[in-house]
């Protein structure tokens, strides 16, 4: 049994300590905002924040988050409504299939948390390890910049 904070709530996961955090979140705790993409930290689809830092949950063991705070896409909502960043993604229609979106938003949130006014180049560099196959890149960049501007 591993205890940690998930989106501000205390949770306990009854899973082997070596289980990837990704599968514990998705399959044990019903989190939608993490996606399996590669299992090798190559695509960023599974990105979550652990104590505020972006982490690839596919390569993070459950035991590594014991006692720590994990935030997923769902945890960004504010009073049940989309956060500024999430709303900016909606307003910019920053997706085609949207499968990469959860990881993109979490990575972008980490950027905005340490650099609230990033340049376009800052955004591209921060997201360079997150893969998108549909070609929504420029919309995603615009969404992050929009969120920064409106913050």
């Amino acid at each position: 049994m591993t205890a940690f904070k998930l989106n501000q709530k205390d949770v306990r996961a009854d899973a082997p300590a070596t289980s990837p955090l990704l599968f514990v979140l998705a399959n044990d705790l019903g989190v939608n905002g993490v996606k399996y993409g590669c299992g090798k930290s190559q695509c960023g689809a599974c990105t979550v924040l652990v104590d505020g830092e972006p982490v690839r949950s596919c390569q993070t063991a459950l035991s590594a988050v014991a006692g720590r705070s994990v935030v997923t896409l769902e945890g960004l909502r504010e009073a049940g409504q989309p956060s500024k960043l999430q709303q900016a993604f909606i307003d910019e229609q920053a997706a085609q299939c949207g499968f990469c979106a959860a990881g993109m938003i979490m990575q972008a949130q980490a950027l905005l948390d340490r650099n609230p006014q990033p340049t376009e180049s800052d955004v591209r560099t921060a997201l360079n390890g997150n893969l998108c196959r549909c070609g929504a890149h420029n919309r995603i960049v615009r969404a992050v910049l929009r969120a920064a501007k409106e913050a």
Binding site: N27, N32, G37, E74, Q86, T125, L131, N138
Partner: protein, 744 residues
């Protein structure tokens, strides 16, 4: 939290129930009773599924349900057809629910592919909605005792001036829609549209941005278990022996499923299933064959392998005139490409107590995949039900159908339990059906001014279509079963321009114009439909070659193209893209170049031209795309932002193909097994992109999803030539290849 009326997930899982209000108006029109041959041709897929109620239901909860056979792949189709439906019915978009791709509920519209959804589904929805509205107006006229042509409708409420109002939902029209459309109701005037032609936010996007359940990967039916597949080491390897006893004792493992050379495992947890599948692979002994040509030998293999068919795609020898004074030739190569979806394919299958195998899948072809899976399992066709639930973008026939089949094979071994399967990255990368490698040879006979007199294009390709098509042998795992299903020999179906030869006929007018397709049915690597099929490679070759001819003639590439382009809409997009790019004002700088490319997709769908600028680092061979400008004509535009998104996304994907992508394989198997060994374009490599749309209100909807890839490939190669003076004809344009080309 959002008004997401796209789909009520619980409803889908339980099998939706609709309220058909009990009131019947018999279809007295003789036309509706007439035999098929005498029936009017109806728009799009309404001609195939003619009952209005198959498409539209009026629900008791003051909503309308639109049922369509086409499915959401991230292209925005559900929103676009919802816009059409809401407009024709005069309802608010919020009053509309869309159900798509459930074989038990929706009209069979075949496969969602080939940029056919707007041309075939759009007009069907428009007509069905217009006729449904007319039926309701007639009912309202009777009820309100007012002439139908004096009635107005807003948000489903029909009003007669001074004579009160009645809503669709009060009219009890359920049965009234249970009749065939007749094609005699005219859709609205364009000026009366509230949603069509406007930027309506996509219905599915809020859920995806906030973590609401929307993907098949997020469904968690009670008691769900996890499956994984163990593939052989190579395509034709046979399982020689296996001692699975140690695997069966691994933590969480509930069952090892073996059927011939098909191996799978069911476990309590996903990571346990994945670990057990890997352990099974290690424990198994396989008879392995060799003999693949390898990625570096593929160009040679294509031109030296005897084709199954040589097809005269176009034969137009020049009649009379002077002989050519000069002949130019070139050979172009496109390697195998992956669909490379970001999420690996997944499905959930459950063998029910009623003997029905129900599968949640992100297949593009739920009906045909159901039929294929039924054959594989030896079930009656009615005993397999596929329900489309969104997955990661597919860009053609990826492994969605294989995942559905594999989940079903495992579920059949453990009845009553929902079995979820999501492939590993390696499982998807190494086993998906790739876009075929192709060789294209071009030759042009020119007059003294460098104008084309004779244009010959000869292409060599393996198949582009091995979709399930109702045949078990097209499902990967079915070939490995103890009683294996043979793979049907793929066809190059359809008329000219359909598959390998898609867009092989240039839209330019040349006096002599011949196209020969060498269709090879041997397949070193598994292949199937990948966005654009042959169009990307053919357009890359055509647009590169016409650029070579322009250079040889000393004529500006835009002007040279316009010499041979009689199609006015083609001329317009070329001119618009050039204008947007600033072609006439562009100043050449050292190391920089510009290029343009054009195509009308399939010669029947959307027009697109792309102009872009590159910078080539001559020291290391790296190409940087600085900016791109695209112009598109998709006919009457329903969703401007949807078209822009498709054009821009297709452009970026094509830059990735053209600059970076090649499936690598040796003499035994595929070695591109992850994103490191098959890199794709990243944020820092994506240029600024402008898209200009040319709207043609009142003209047919033209498919857009595959319009920009070919033109982008051509434009990029042309820009690299402009920057370096060296012509690159073999893709991808990797730094190594460019560096070698520059120092040759």
């Amino acid at each position: 939290m959002t008004d997401n009326l796209l789909m009520d997930r619980r409803r889908v899982l339980q099998g939706a129930g609709y309220v058909a209000l009990a009131f019947s108006i018999p279809a007295t029109d003789a036309q509706a009773q007439a035999p098929a041959a005498e029936k009017p041709r109806l728009p799009g897929d309404l001609n195939i599924v003619r009952n209005i109620s198959a498409w539209i239901r009026i629900n008791s909860d003051k909503t309308v349900t639109l049922l369509i056979g086409k499915v959401e792949l991230g292209q925005g189709i559900l929103t676009a057809v919802a816009q059409i439906c809401a407009d024709e019915l005069d309802i608010d978009l919020k009053q509309l629910k869309v159900v798509s791709g459930d074989t038990a509920l929706v009209p069979n519209e075949g496969v969602t592919a080939g940029s056919f959804s707007m041309p075939n589904c759009g007009p069907a929805v428009r007509q069905a909605s217009a006729e449904a509205r007319k039926i309701m107006l007639d009912l309202a006229a009777e009820k309100l005792k007012a002439p139908a042509d004096k009635l107005t409708v807003k948000d489903g409420v029909v009003s007669a001036q001074g004579a009160g109002s009645v809503s669709y939902w009060d009219l009890a029209v359920g049965k009234a829609l249970e009749r065939e459309a007749m094609g005699n109701v005219k859709p609205k005037a364009i000026a009366d549209y509230r949603y069509v032609g406007k930027d309506v936010p996509r219905l599915d996007i809020p859920a995806k941005m906030t973590g609401e359940e929307i993907f098949v990967h997020e469904l968690r039916p009670k008691g769900m278990l996890y499956g994984q597949i163990t593939r052989p080491p190579t395509y034709k390897a046979k399982l020689a022996s296996l001692d699975s006893s140690a695997v069966e004792k691994m933590p969480g493992v509930l069952k090892v499923v073996r059927n011939g050379s098909f191996l799978g495992v069911i476990a309590e947890r996903e990571e346990q299933a994945n670990a057990a599948a890997q352990a099974l692979f290690n424990a198994a002994k396989w008879d392995v064959e060799k003999g693949l040509p390898g990625n570096d030998g593929m160009e040679d293999w294509l031109t030296k392998t005897k084709p199954a068919r040589m097809i005269d795609t176009k034969k137009q020898p020049r009649v009379g005139g002077d002989p050519a004074v000069k002949t130019l030739e070139a050979t172009y190569y496109r390697p195998y490409h992956m669909h490379a979806s970001i999420g690996t394919s997944a499905a959930i299958a459950t063998m029910g107590a009623d003997g029905v195998m129900t599968i949640q899948t992100h297949s593009q072809s739920v009906f045909e995949t159901s039929a294929a899976i039924a054959k594989m399992l030896g079930l009656e066709p009615s005993k397999v039900r596929c329900q489309h639930v969104q997955g990661s973008g597919c860009y053609g026939h990826n492994m969605a159908d294989d995942a559905a089949a594999d989940a079903a094979l495992l579920a059949a071994a453990m009845p009553g339990k929902p079995i979820r399967l999501q492939y590993t990255r390696e499982g998807e990368h190494r086993w998906e059906p790739y876009g075929s490698a192709m060789v294209i040879k071009t030759r042009a006979g020119l007059d003294k001014d460098g104008n084309v007199l004779d244009w010959d294009l000869t292409l060599f390709s393996t198949p582009h279509g091995t979709r399930p098509g109702g045949e078990a042998g097209n499902l990967l795992s079915a070939r490995y079963l103890e009683k294996p299903f043979a793979m049907p020999t793929p066809q190059n179906n359809g008329g000219p321009n359909f598959a390998a030869d898609r867009n092989a006929i240039a839209l330019y007018d040349f006096p002599g114009h011949n196209v020969l397709t060498n269709f090879i049915t041997d397949m070193p690597l598994r292949v199937s439909s990948t966005r654009g099929l042959g169009a990307y490679a053919n357009v890359f070759a055509i647009e590169s070659f016409i650029d070579e001819l322009a250079v040889a003639a000393g004529v500006d590439p835009v002007q040279y193209r316009l010499r041979f382009m009689k199609d006015e809409r083609g001329r317009d997009v070329i001119a618009r893209a050039a204008d947007l790019f600033g072609w006439s004002k562009w100043q050449k700088k050292d190391g920089r170049g510009r290029g343009i490319g054009f195509a009308k997709y399939k010669n029947i769908a959307g027009y697109c031209a792309v102009a872009l600028e590159v910078e080539v680092n001559k020291r290391n061979g790296r190409i940087r795309v600085l900016r791109a400008a695209a112009a598109a004509d998709s006919g009457h535009i329903v969703s401007p932002d949807g078209v822009r998104n498709q054009i821009e996304g297709g452009l970026i994907q094509s830059l990735s193909w053209t600059l970076k992508e090649e499936v690598k394989f040796d003499d035994t198997s595929v070695t591109s097994q992850d994103w490191a060994s098959y890199p794709i374009l990243t944020f820092n490599e994506v240029p600024a992109i402008e898209v200009a749309l040319i709207d043609r209100p009142g003209t047919p909807f033209l498919g857009t999803g595959e319009a920009s890839q070919g033109p982008t490939g051509g434009a990029l190669a042309n820009a690299v030539f402009d920057a370096t003076g060296v012509r690159f004809r073999r893709l991808p344009l990797t730094p190594d290849r460019v560096k070698a080309g520059l120092s040759a």
